[in-house]
């Protein structure tokens, strides 16, 4: 019979129970959905790396002979190794695509991941296993022939299989961040396919035990001078790029859902407590009629339990099933993984369980408190809290306040916890909105800053590695361009060691370093400027000395910092050619920038990128970020509606009798609506104002964890700030409108019947 009562109660207070269900569902849905996306990425890529046995490190050397192998082996830490020859070739196509060829000894480390065709056969002299993305872009099939040109050779092989490689999850040319699979690819072949008998192996893939730093030191100690460089897994371009992407997803997947679920949980718990408190007299009646305490407790505890449980389970299942599918398509255009599956983490289950347990506990204690009283007390409604006149009422202004203001002031004072919950709900929602819009603005601002304020050339011509100085000068003259050098560097201070970038310019006005406020920072010929973020990470300031070297060379130099500039996406040094050469380092032009729009192809130029290409690559790269921002905004708004509606409903039930009285006395519906709206707007205003700094803090944490290369400070444009305000208040008013219908339909007679 009690079960029937429960079902009737639920159907009578549909809206309230639906909102309980929705909060449980939404909280877990978003938490597990956004989390499932980033966990999914991690699981997919790690499975892929494991399955293909990705190398732990790569040793680059020109002398990888048997003695070399022996010496690497006797280091002790090495568990497995395999040689390959990696060369850049040009594919025989109209657009001269860059194909990186791997001649492998047996391909047990960093294995080619076959998607179609035959498995890689180490005895096959004529076969090639080709990058599937490239093959798709060129319309190549298994069985087709393909020709490559490298050094003095031109070879033609038959495609035996198509697939991916763990070393090429991310594969883009040095000139563009976004991969263009029509222009770039890779291919694996047996060492037997190499045109000579002796293969000049240049890369040794190693698997080792222990941490990479130790291994690197060990290697340096025993074999220093016999190899050019050692790259450990986390520094590998593809691995590194993908883990940075994962880090970005993770930071958003961490902070936002946590805030979200906290709000949902908070409101959920208060709602449950209130629903039970409202049933106080009924609990008294049940007790008076002889129901045992524990069956009453069981009855009320099961109220919310099933809804929260079902909501949480549905969220747990549907979240990871749906939300990741929104992100993966845009990501799979840039990154090549054999599978894109969302994953579940035990954390989601723990959080969902915590939610269910907490709602159980809250219901339990609420009923327990009531049922511990004597039935005679319980059966009577709780004596209403006495309003008191505080100092506000003593002010002379009080007399002049309207009824509306007085009523609302006292109502809020009498129901402090309800007021607090509403305000916290609004704080949460406006903080999420501020955060989402702040990300939106930050992303836009970053693009504007990087691609318009700092860099204002029209085309960037990336110089071929083999281009001669005269070729470069010739091109520069032709396009009236300025030569620059860009390189990866590693900087070390007393406190930290970080990798970054180096930009060497020759008195160009096409790149204008700025500070954070976009003011031009002038770097003189004999000065070195460090980017703000890099300075912060290294803990250095103007006047300090730092040690640094260009990646791939082990020549360390020490430089004094003369200036600090700011850059949103590249952290490191800017200096002149003179300064670089003063430091006894070689200058090599890597790109030519020009204000002209260049369509023509030049000898010695690998690729030409226009500013438009770069901004559209940027847009493509950040697509998943945008998507996340929209999802943030959508769910923040949805949560706001549920929270405000739910709290509005609770307070409406509580003051229903008063509203009915006022209506009977002759107050117009519009006046009563205004009465409720006033309170709603006050709380919304307070919540909104307090939500701003909270949103700012969340945004700050998000940007701070966006990776070493990004430098964005939390800020929001006036427009979006106003938009946040408009959305918050519009939602509040919208929810209020839902109640005006209730006021209109309120049964005056019924509401007045019951006594106090």
């Amino acid at each position: 019979m009690l079960a029937r009562k429960m079902l009737r109660d639920i159907s009578k207070h549909k809206a309230q129970f639906i909102s309980i269900f929705l909060m449980a569902f939404l909280g877990v849905f978003v938490f597990a959905g956004v989390g499932g996306e980033s966990v999914g990425l991690e699981v997919n890529v790690n499975d892929y790396y494991d399955e293909t046995n990705l190398a732990d490190g790569w040793i680059y050397s020109n002398y990888i002979n048997d003695l070399f192998l022996y010496q690497v082996d006797v280091l002790g830490a090495t568990t497995d190794m395999e040689r390959q020859l990696v060369v850049d070739s040009v594919g025989d196509f109209k657009n001269d695509p860059d194909i990186t060829l791997h001649f492998v000894e047996n391909n047990t480390i960093s294995k080619f991941y076959l998607i179609e065709g035959e498995k890689l056969d180490i005895n096959d002299e004529n076969g090639v296993w080709l990058d599937k993305s490239f093959a798709d872009a060129k319309g190549l099939k298994v069985g087709d022939n393909i020709s490559f040109e490298f050094a003095d050779y031109e070879i033609t092989k038959t495609i035996r299989g198509l697939g991916y490689s763990p070393e090429y999850v991310y594969h883009a040319s040095s000139s563009s961040v976004i991969p263009d699979f029509d222009k770039i690819g890779f291919a694996y072949m047996s060492y037997k396919a190499f045109p000579e008998d002796t293969v000049p192996y240049n890369v040794l893939n190693v698997k080792f035990e222990g941490n990479p730093e130790t291994y690197s030191e060990l290697l340096d100690y025993h074999m220093g001078g016999y190899y050019n460089s050692f790259v450990e897994k986390s520094q590998h371009v593809s691995v590194n790029q993908f883990s940075e992407e994962m880090a970005q997803h993770e930071m958003m997947g961490d902070i936002f859902p946590v805030v979200f679920i906290l709000i949902a949980m908070l409101i959920l718990l208060t709602t449950m407590r209130r629903i039970i408190t409202h049933q106080r007299t009924q609990i008294g009646i049940l007790k008076a009629s002889g129901f045992k305490n524990h069956s009453i407790i069981l009855h009320y505890v099961s109220y919310g339990f099933w809804l929260v449980l079902i909501g949480a389970i549905l969220g747990l299942i549907l979240g990871p099933m749906t939300l990741p599918q929104l992100f993966y398509p845009s990501m799979s255009a840039t990154y090549k993984l054999p599978s894109w599956n969302p994953a579940w983490s035990m954390n989601f289950v723990y959080v969902a369980a915590l939610m269910v347990i907490m709602s159980l506990a809250v219901s339990y204690y609420s009923v327990k408190n009531i049922s511990n009283e004597k039935p005679a007390d319980t059966i009577r409604p709780k004596t209403p809290k006495v309003s008191t006149s505080g100092f506000v009422e003593k002010l002379s202004i009080w007399k002049r306040l309207s009824f509306n203001a007085r009523w609302n002031w006292r109502d809020a004072k009498r129901n402090k916890s309800r007021a607090l919950m509403t305000i916290i709900g609004v704080i949460g929602c406006s903080a999420l909105l501020v955060c989402a819009f702040g990300m939106y603005d930050g992303m836009n601002d970053l693009k504007e800053w990087e691609y318009s304020d700092i860099n204002h050339y029209d085309s960037k011509l990336v110089v071929d590695d083999n281009a001669s100085v005269s070729q470069i000068d010739n091109v520069a003259d032709n396009v009236d361009g300025d030569k620059i050098m860009e390189s990866s560097i590693e900087i070390e201070s007393d406190n930290a060691k970080k990798s970054g970038s180096l930009l060497v310019v020759n008195d160009t006005d096409l790149i204008t370093p700025t500070d954070y406020d976009r003011n031009h920072v002038e770097i003189k010929d004999d000065e070195v400027s460090i980017s703000q973020k890099m300075a912060d990470m290294l803990g250095v300031k103007v006047g300090d000395n730092v040690k640094w070297h260009i990646m791939g060379s082990d020549k360390w130099v020490t430089t004094k910092i003369d200036k600090i500039h700011a850059d949103p996406i590249s952290q490191g040094f800017i200096m002149s050619q003179d300064k670089l050469e003063d430091l006894d380092l070689n200058y090599t032009t890597t790109s030519i920038i020009t204000s002209q729009h260049v369509d023509k192809e030049y000898d010695g130029v690998k690729v030409t990128n226009s500013m438009k290409d770069m901004t559209s690559s940027w847009d493509e790269m950040t697509e998943s970020m945008w998507l996340l921002i929209y999802i943030l905004i959508f769910f923040a708004a949805l949560l706001a509606i549920v929270v405000l509606y739910n709290l509005g409903l609770l307070s409406f039930t509580e003051i229903e009798r008063e509203i009915a009285t006022l209506k009977v006395l002759g107050f117009k519906t519009s006046a009563l609506r205004k009465l409720l709206l006033t309170q709603n707007l006050w709380f919304t205003a307070i919540g909104f104002i307090l939500g701003l700094p909270v949103g700012y803090i969340i945004l700050d944490i998000m940007w701070a964890s966006s990776g070493d290369s990004f430098y964005i400070l939390p800020s929001i444009t006036l427009t979006n700030f106003l938009l946040t305000a408009v959305i918050t208040f519009a939602l509040s008013i919208f929810v209020n409108l839902m109640f005006s219908r209730k006021i209109k339909r309120l049964d005056m007679v019924e509401s007045l019947k019951s006594g106090e």
Partner: protein
């Protein structure tokens, strides 16, 4: 004395599932200005329905209700709200004061709905509660709360006071006090007072007694010499 309220062939039906419930079946009566009217009947007789119709809380199925020459049976929601605000002073069994407002604020609240000058303190004085003006309902006794509610009702100078079991929640001594207050308002200030109750003793104090049963008028009695409430035997 002029007639200010008239019920003409009033029928009120409620649809409940498939069958129709007749709560008010062809009811006719009039009330004169300043009359002290008691409407008597057992529970379920239709007292509340009558009160709701007269108070503008519900509308008739057929028939006419004329108050101050206005056909309130044809009023829409907005007009009914206006009507309630201007013409009806409600007094409820459970007082229904606004708990967040002090006694005087509850009275002066009426300024928000009618265009009448209200001196809250003097109205409270007239019900003997001047000293409690700044107290909240929860700080007052039941009788005091009911007196505030009467003060609130008379403050707007309505056409009638409509009282639904006004002493139902009070002990008999306090009840007499309240009824006496209402009767004296009718006698001294020519206020029309209509009391709905199941307590037959009150009939002797009324100018007019309307007895209803099963939704119909059973009898209408006019007392030429009504007793004073304080002289009744409770």
């Amino acid at each position: 004395m002029s007639t200010i309220i008239e019920f003409k062939n009033v029928v009120k039906e409620y649809q409940s599932g498939d069958h129709i419930l007749k709560a008010m079946d062809n009811v006719n009566f009039t009330v004169d200005e300043g009359e002290f009217v008691v409407i008597l009947g057992p529970s379920g007789a239709g007292k509340s329905t009558l009160l709701n119709l007269l108070g503008g809380l519900d509308s008739v199925t057929s028939g006419q209700i004329i108050v101050n020459d206005n056909h309130i049976d044809s009023f829409n929601d907005n007009q009914l709200t206006q009507y309630r605000a201007k013409n009806v002073g409600f007094i409820f069994q459970f007082y229904n004061l606004i708990p967040n407002l002090t006694a005087i604020e509850n009275v002066e609240l009426m300024k928000d709905i009618v265009d009448v000058k209200i001196d809250g303190l003097s109205v409270l004085d007239s019900v003997g509660l001047k000293d409690h003006a700044n107290q909240f309902p929860a700080q007052l006794s039941g009788g005091e709360q009911q007196r505030v509610s009467i003060a609130r009702a008379v403050a707007k100078q309505p056409t009638m006071l409509l009282c639904d079991e006004p002493t139902g929640a009070l002990d008999s001594k306090t009840g007499v006090l309240i009824l006496n207050l209402l009767q004296s308002m009718s006698n001294n200030q020519n206020t029309t007072v209509i009391i709905v109750t199941h307590n037959a003793i009150l009939a002797e104090a009324a100018d007019k007694v309307i007895r209803i049963k099963n939704g119909q008028i059973e009898s209408i009695t006019i007392n030429d010499n009504p007793k004073k409430v304080t002289d009744l035997e409770w």
